[in-house]
Amino acid sequence: MSDRVGLLLQLADDELILGWRNSEWTGIAPFLEEDVAFSSIAQNEIGHARALYELVARELGTDADAVAFDRPPEQYRSAPLVELRRLEWALTIARHWLYETADAVRLEALQASDDAELAGIAAKMAREEAYHRIHADMWLDRLLASDEGRPRLEEALDELWPYALGVLDDELRAEFVRRVEARLGRSQPDVDPVGRDRHEAELAELLDEMTSVRRTAPAGARW
């Protein structure tokens, strides 16, 4: 597998798995408007994943669905942060904000890439992610401003911090830490990242559910 494919799969798998996790709130988000907004964000993430899988598929001579759905769990390149299943709003917002902050650093770096195709798709993604970041930022402010929200959010941020550090490689991680510390106005603990060299147990369950239709559909079925 080329470095390019490896990099594209990291991005695509993060977006697909997080999109799926966020979509688990559809129908049960804290209120109706948020339900629609968060579901829409989930759809955007999955849209980004599809665009990236298409690039991978072209390089591997297959199609995007095959890349997205036909790999065993150990071949996914997603970061454990996006794999965790946590149907709790403070944890969801903490992950959403940490991921969007890390993703912004990553997309900025990719937009400066010599690979014009990669730079182009990163620029397109960044334009949509800007709205996700606004959404994540306003929720962060909202929870930090409330007596009940602040401790719950801070606890969630602490729990997820090692996972958040595992989204980016060494080269970009320092900038991510700098942004988080500047925004939260505190220094973050220096802990070992939970990186892409392992997967959470929840990933296999997610993939099992996500691929169930594809695995049972007759060959050549069209949607």
């Binding site: 209120f31 109706l32 408007e33 948020e34 629609v36 907004a37 829409s40 709205y131 606004i134 959404h135 306003m138 909202r142």
Partner: protein, 95 residues
């Protein structure tokens, strides 16, 4: 505390704003995101107006104690007059 914002949308440049619905949100930032998602994400709007419901001055009582039917359009037949006027106009052109 949530505030209800009435949302108006314009389908294309030059068209009139039309009431689309409402969103409940904690503040204007949330309202903007929610309105974008609910009334703009499918490309159905060219612009949105968000108005806090409290800012709307509602008028709802229309008193008509003496049942002045002749004020309503249904009491005023314009069909014949229009026909006459059109015939007249057509005649003018012929002349």
């Amino acid at each position: 505390m949530t505030v209800v914002y009435e949302v108006f949308r314009r389908e294309r440049a030059g068209a009139a704003m039309q009431h689309a619905g409402s969103v409940a949100a904690p503040d204007a930032r949330f309202a903007e995101i929610y309105a974008r998602e609910q009334y703009g994400r499918r490309g159905e709007s060219e612009a949105l107006w968000l108005v806090p419901r409290d800012a709307v001055h509602e008028v709802s009582e229309f008193v008509d104690e003496f049942d002045l039917k002749y004020r309503r359009v249904d009491g005023y037949s314009i069909k014949e007059r229009l026909k006459e006027a059109r015939e007249l106009a057509a005649g003018d052109r012929r002349r």
